[in-house]
């Protein structure tokens, strides 16, 4: 029998430490929706999403109620649209994004991901059309998210795509200038993108995935932070053990919710993503965990080591708690979505360079970072290339979700609202990378790719 202490500990985690399941994401294959006629293809996409995810939100809410654990988001990921749309005779994929938007809204989810292309080794005609459609697609829809994979350990980095994405991000920011460039918060540029990521904006349903699948992302920075408060001043061995035990508990809860959702929706269970996902709420911050380890402010010397320990301990604790672990599984460090990161970046302690270093030891990358609106497209491409290089060489996922906020300069703050929070505009290096980016071609795959 459970004892009172254990039960009250769980209640406290939920009530006071922001423990929740961050997302139940249903992955849906749209490969069967390919059609040469644009409107037929869009209709098939709408129908399939609306049918498969019909009960996703209501099921999530029922589980939430019965277990008494908040499930913050219910979402959908679909096959990268560049693959589905390739058969259609059209020069714009905006109608596909609009069909996704309508279908997702009909099911009641709050985001749908998969307006995506995988171009790590080069672009097909469909990939080019998709990337060209991104600015209009993401600025004329509300809840569609997109991603482009520009590199991998196996294939190297497609620098033509990297250059193109710098310009695409600038276009998208311009098209959503009235919202501070909000459109860019819905676009992720990946290296080594994963096929079963439940988190937005980078979720898509990979081609190796089944017809449909349930993936769950857990959360819990507040719980880890709270647990570490009890071991103040103790050695790192104790810190790591404490994080592991906490991550185990959090993940077990995620696994339970995932299995229950899978059973009720008659959909195979895919993975639990172990990522510690912060929110802008006070007490739900990854930065505060790092500071609890003894750093005056996140971003100072020691931050990378602290994050490395945290990221590793979360995985070690989580991996035994779930039958299938996948997705991104690591600590997230989105600036605008983390109260402690916002504070550290606003004070100037947390710079873009330090964030880049931190991405070497955690998932995922430079995430939700606002830079001045006049940042050149080539500089953004160079930032993407740096991140992609880190991912490629270390055989891990890295991503860039960067917002060149139109009309904003260093010192301004861009408000996105809700879970996306607010981002202080951070300085970038003023020196040009234009010649570097305009070379084009491919950066060859590193030695690490030759494992056979």
């Amino acid at each position: 029998m459970l004892n009172q202490h254990e039960i009250m500990q769980t209640i406290q985690m939920i009530d006071q430490q922001h423990l929740d399941v961050r997302t139940i994401t249903m992955g849906i294959s749209l490969l069967s929706c390919a059609h040469s006629d644009l409107s037929t293809a869009c209709a098939k996409i709408y129908d399939k999403i609306a049918k498969y995810a019909e009960n996703l939100v209501s099921t999530g809410e029922a589980i939430e109620k019965e277990f008494g654990i908040p499930i913050v988001n219910k979402r959908i990921s679909v096959t990268p649209i560049a693959l589905v749309a390739a058969a259609a005779e059209t020069d714009s994929y905006v109608p596909f994004a609009q069909a996704m938007d309508r279908a997702a809204k009909a099911t009641g989810v709050n985001f749908i991901g998969g307006f995506s292309a995988l171009v790590q080794k080069g672009m097909t005609e469909a990939d080019r059309i998709l990337i060209r459609s991104i600015p209009e697609a993401l600025s004329t829809t509300d809840i569609v998210c997109g991603s482009v994979n520009v590199g991998s350990t196996k294939a190297g980095i497609d620098m033509d795509a990297v250059a193109l994405m710098g310009r695409t991000i600038k276009d998208l920011a311009g098209k959503t200038a009235d919202q501070g460039g909000f459109g860019c918060a819905k676009l992720v540029i990946f290296c080594n993108a994963v096929e079963d990521n439940p988190f937005m904006a980078g979720a898509f349903h990979g081609v190796g995935e089944p017809e449909r699948v349930i993936n769950v992302g857990v959360s819990g920075p507040g719980v880890v932070y709270h647990a570490l408060q009890d071991v103040k001043g103790q050695p790192f061995d104790v810190v790591a053990e404490t994080v592991k035990k906490t991550a185990f508990r959090i993940t077990r809860m995620g696994q339970l919710v995932a299995q229950e959702a899978s059973r009720r929706l008659d959909t195979p269970f895919g993975i639990v993503d172990l990522s510690l996902a912060p929110t802008p709420a006070v007490g739900d911050s990854v930065a505060r965990i790092l500071e609890e380890m003894g750093l005056e402010v996140c971003g100072t010397h020691g931050t990378t080591a602290a994050l490395a320990l945290l990221n590793d301990a979360v995985k070690k604790g989580g991996v035994m708690a779930s039958s299938h672990v996948g997705g991104l599984s690591g600590a997230f460090i989105p600036v605008s979505e983390d109260e402690g990161m916002i504070a550290a970046a606003s004070s100037g302690a947390l710079t873009l360079d330090k964030l880049e270093a931190m991405t070497c030891v955690c998932s995922v990358g430079l995430d939700m970072i606002a830079v001045p609106g006049d940042t050149p497209a080539e500089t953004i491409s160079a930032i993407i290339a740096d991140e992609a290089a880190i991912g490629m060489v270390n055989a891990k996922t890295t991503a860039v979700r960067i917002i060149p906020a139109p009309g904003c300069t260093v010192g301004d703050t861009v408000e996105f609202g809700g879970l996306l929070g607010s981002a202080p505009v951070q300085p970038v290096h003023p020196y040009s990378a234009k010649e570097f980016v305009s070379r084009g071609g491919r950066i060859p795959a590193p030695m690490q790719s030759l494992k056979n």
């Binding site: 459970l2 009172q4 254990e6 009250m8 769980t10 019965e66 008494g68 809860m253 339970l256």
Partner: protein, 89 residues
């Protein structure tokens, strides 16, 4: 199905009686109770069996929450699985 009922609030006469009679009203059987009072703060944890209850557990969540609000208490019911998952291997 087994569930856990937790009651938290400022201590006063009759909390246990009120909650127990409420559960009895819906045919929910109490299997185990522990309660403590720490600095006027009342905490009660019950293991209950809802298999004879005609209402769904989702409905009971609402009923207990409303009853709790009326009595300035936090009363909740959750399926036991969540606690087992978290604290038992």
């Amino acid at each position: 199905m087994k569930a856990i009922v937790t009651v938290i609030g400022k201590d006063r006469v009759g909390i246990t009686a009120a909650v127990c009679s409420l559960l009895a009203q819906y045919n929910i059987n109490i299997l185990d109770i522990t309660q403590t009072v720490l600095q006027e703060f009342f905490t009660m944890v019950m293991l209950v069996d809802t298999s004879t209850c005609e209402k769904s557990i989702g409905d009971m969540v609402d009923i207990l929450e409303q009853a709790g609000a009326e009595q300035k208490l936090s009363i909740r019911i959750q399926r036991e699985d969540i606690f087992n998952a978290m604290h038992r291997i």
